[in-house]
Amino acid sequence: MEIKRTIKYQADRVRGFGREVMSVPGCEKLKDCIQCGTCSGVCPLSIYMDFTPRQVMALTREDFKNEVLASHTIWLCASCYACTVECPREIRITDIMYELKQRAIHEGVYPKRFPIPVLAQEFTTMVRQHGRVSEGLLVTKLYLKTNPIAALGMAKLGMGLMKTGRFSLKQENIKQRADLARIVATVDNESVKA
């Protein structure tokens, strides 16, 4: 049995983290959370989370940045928006989860071979470079990066997809790729200024 200290000292917090998150568009109403637990009650994935969505709300508001960004919860969120439409305080929990994911990626604090953030990043890279996602290619890359062994388990599915004409390793491209690059660069530029 491993005995761990569970008390939290004020110094364990990262002051201002909550306020920062709550200043992001879509996340303002986190201030109003009454910790009723409706979000966790409706969340289809809460049964697998280390912190329930409600706890993530409390931890965020109370500046427990390290705990929140390292939690599985944000990666388990499937963006089903069930919590967002049921929250009695009209808090956009799904958007807050997105914001926390962004921060976790930005700070590089997620389990290394954890497929979900890796997928998010591979996905965005592909969109940025080619304008479109080629699902077969994306999934293949994902498995190679995270868990090549598990890819074997997926082989049968892949074969099936191939047989039904739904799997291809060809990269789709749009014509105006230069435009995309410029759009992305402009956003980057603006964000740095802001």
Partner: protein, 676 residues
């Protein structure tokens, strides 16, 4: 003396109030005082912490004497709050009270602005306007009008009944109007009442029949108010008497007609039992209904069938057996129609109560979708010995008792998407129902709550009692009620999915029955009632009291009071306390015997009136009359409400309104505009 002073040059005293930090926190009061001190006719200008306090009022009186003031302006809160106070102070100082004007720099300024500089400028502009206006004020006299000592009470739930009884016991006449066929309101439906668990019928029905029989109470059931005219002390009220197709004088309440109806078994959803029971077209809502008079429901009675062209066709299936049973009493009258009656009263108490939240608006809880999801009011009827099942708690299949029950709190309360407020009584009534259900069925009971709110005498103790009884309390707002099973024990049950927030995990709890603690909300027609009685509503739609602490049963209309749940969710003890307070206010008003009327009435300058009569049809209070002898119009001061409609309409400009004379208004406007 007043006349003398009026004719003198204006000597104005100006006072700006800090109202603690309410005003001073956003307005630089010293600067306002300094600015006003520089204006013409202003003899002295001061700022003070609390003008409404005794020293504040004395300050005005002393200055009038010391500086020979003949006009006073106070810049502070809303005139609704303290105009009366300051007029009194001015009068005590020896001036006519109408040589005073009040500027609202709190509600209109400091409370609604966030920039101190701008708020200060605005206060200066408003003050300057008042200085300009007050110079033209004239001495006026208030009038006294006698008060009609009869009171109208609208709505006869426990609030209306208690108000009516208190006033009637003091020897005054009351007209009690209730729109349902019986009085009693929601309380009449309950089995027991928290926290003492005394039987609702035992404490309510004696009061109901006493009210019905009281010599000073005229009970008009199945009736509604449709029109209110007049003013405090003298209201003219029109009441619609809905046809119950029974001669109320002739019916003796024997109820022989009910079993005689051609519908051998009751067939139609019974409103009083929340649709859980059935009744016939001729019915009495419940055994102790007051008045003990039956009613006929034209929507289902065969005598009121509509033919294709909309005309009434009497079904030949109906043999009028009810009429036969009634016999000589001859109380049944299918020809009755709506009647309107006009009454005169001096004061009105509105006690129209609440309605419960419509549970189908929260679809995730499955009301209307799953048979065994109930509202709390339905359970009140189900545990009630005089309810549709005789107090036997069975589910909608009519036979099985629940072995487990989940009670979901806050349904349609504390939810911004439906009703944002806390309904105040649901925690307590949920625990009451938990206790009663346990008593009746020995089922496993789960309460799902966000917070347990028990702020009342004996309430926390009641919570303790429930814990002792082994009722489960799970802190979490339920996510959903569903009927699909994950485990064998969930098969065939309603499954509640919730985060047990104190344990920090999500749980699925299968139960046989779900009870939704639906919240309290304003009646559907609250807005119409509000307009009818010229009241205000809060943003949620409950009637607004004049002051939340100091005038909780008064409204912004003099002579109109509110009591009970129409003012906001509350339990029976609070309702009765408020009902008593409203009765006391009414008695204080009636006992005084007269009201003073604001002299802001209009009058016609006879010499200038051309007799065109254009003003006459415009007056909403029919206060303008025409003198055929002089060929001029004149205004009956007793009827004039000072609305000003005629003043603006007179083509020859010969109508003047006290306190709103042209010069007063123009100087006021000039004052604001002069400031920039």
């Amino acid at each position: 003396m007043a006349m003398e002073k009026q004719n003198q040059e204006p000597r104005i005293g100006f006072y700006v109030c800090h109202c603690g930090t309410n005003i001073a926190g956003m307005v630089d009061c010293a600067e306002v005082a300094h600015h006003v001190g520089t204006l013409p006719n202003v003899v002295m200008s001061k700022d003070y912490k609390y003008m409404c306090s005794d020293p504040g009022q004395e300050l005005i009186q002393k200055d009038i004497a010391a500086h020979g003031l003949n006009r006073v302006v106070v810049a502070s809160c809303s005139p609704l709050l303290h105009e009366h106070t300051f007029r009194g102070a001015v009068e005590k100082g020896g001036l006519n009270p109408f040589f005073f004007h009040m500027v609202n720099i709190r509600e209109h300024d400091s409370w609604v602005h966030t920039d101190r500089q701008e708020a200060t400028e605005k206060a200066k502009a408003l003050a300057q306007a008042a200085i300009g206006r007050v110079a033209h004020h004239k001495a006026l006299e208030t009038k006294r009008v006698d008060i009609n000592p009869t009171t109208l009470v609208v709505g006869a739930g426990i609030a209306g009944i208690h108000t009516a009884m208190t006033i009637a016991n003091a020897g005054k006449q009351v007209v009690l109007v209730e729109r349902e066929p019986t009085i009693g309101g929601h309380m009449a439906k309950f089995d027991k009442t928290f926290p003492t668990l005394d039987c609702a019928a035992c404490i309510l029905t004696p009061k109901m029949s006493a009210a019905g029989a009281h010599e000073n109470i005229r009970l008009l059931s199945y009736s509604e108010v449709t029109k209110v005219d007049g003013f405090v002390g003298n209201y003219k009220v029109t009441i619609k008497r809905k046809p119950r197709y029974i001669d109320e004088e002739a019916c003796i309440g024997c109820q022989d007609c009910i079993p005689a109806c051609v519908f051998k078994t009751p067939k139609f959803a019974d409103e009083f039992n929340e649709g859980l029971g059935k009744r016939r077209p001729v019915y009495i809502p419940f055994p102790q209904a007051t008045p003990q008079i039956v009613a006929i429901d034209p929507n289902v009675c065969l005598n009121f069938k509509k033919g294709e062209n909309g005309d009434r066709v009497v079904s030949d299936k109906c043999k009028k057996t009810c009429v036969e049973a009634c016999g000589d009493k001859d109380a049944i009258d299918f020809t009755q129609t709506e009647r309107f009656e006009e009454i005169e009263v001096g004061a009105i108490v509105v006690a129209t109560g609440f309605q419960t939240y419509d549970a189908t608006r929260s679809p995730s809880y499955g009301y209307g979708r799953y048979d065994n999801v109930y509202t709390a009011l339905e359970i009140e009827r189900l545990v009630n010995a005089s309810g549709p099942t005789g107090g036997h708690v069975v589910m909608r299949d009519g036979k099985s008792e629940p072995k487990s029950v989940g009670i979901i709190h806050c349904v349609g309360s504390r939810d911004k998407k439906t009703n944002a407020w806390c309904s105040r009584v649901c925690c307590m009534y949920s625990m009451k129902l938990a206790h009663l259900l346990k008593e009746h069925t020995n089922a496993e009971i789960y309460n799902f709550y966000i917070d347990v709110r028990t702020p009342g005498k004996g309430y926390e103790e009641f919570y303790g009692k429930l814990l002792e009884e082994g009722v489960h309390f799970i802190r979490g707002r339920v996510g959903e009620v569903t009927d699909w099973a994950m485990t064998p024990e969930e098969e065939g049950k309603l499954v509640i999915r919730v985060e047990d927030t104190l344990a920090g995990m999500v749980r699925r709890i299968p139960v046989d029955m779900v009870v939704l603690a639906t919240g309290l909300e304003p009646q559907k027609d609250a807005q119409d009632v509000r307009r009818l009685f010229n009241m205000s509503c809060g943003s949620e739609g409950f009637f607004l009291e004049r002051h939340p602490k100091l005038a909780p049963v008064n409204t912004f209309s003099d002579g109109i009071y509110i009591a009970g749940a129409c003012q906001g969710p509350k339990d029976i003890p609070d309702t009765v306390a408020q009902a008593g307070a409203a009765a006391a206010e009414v008695l204080a008003l009636i006992d005084k015997g007269y009201v003073e009327q604001e002299p802001n009435t209009a009058f016609i300058l006879e010499d200038e009136c051309s007799g065109c009569k254009s003003c006459i049809p415009l007056c909403p209070y029919t206060a303008i009359l025409f003198d055929e002898k002089t060929d001029k119009a004149w205004i009956n001061e007793a009827l004039c409400k000072g609305c000003g409609t005629c003043v603006g309409s007179c083509p020859s400009g010969s109508i003047v309104q006290n306190l709103f004379e042209d010069q007063e208004i123009f100087s006021e406007i000039e004052g604001v505009l002069a400031y920039d």
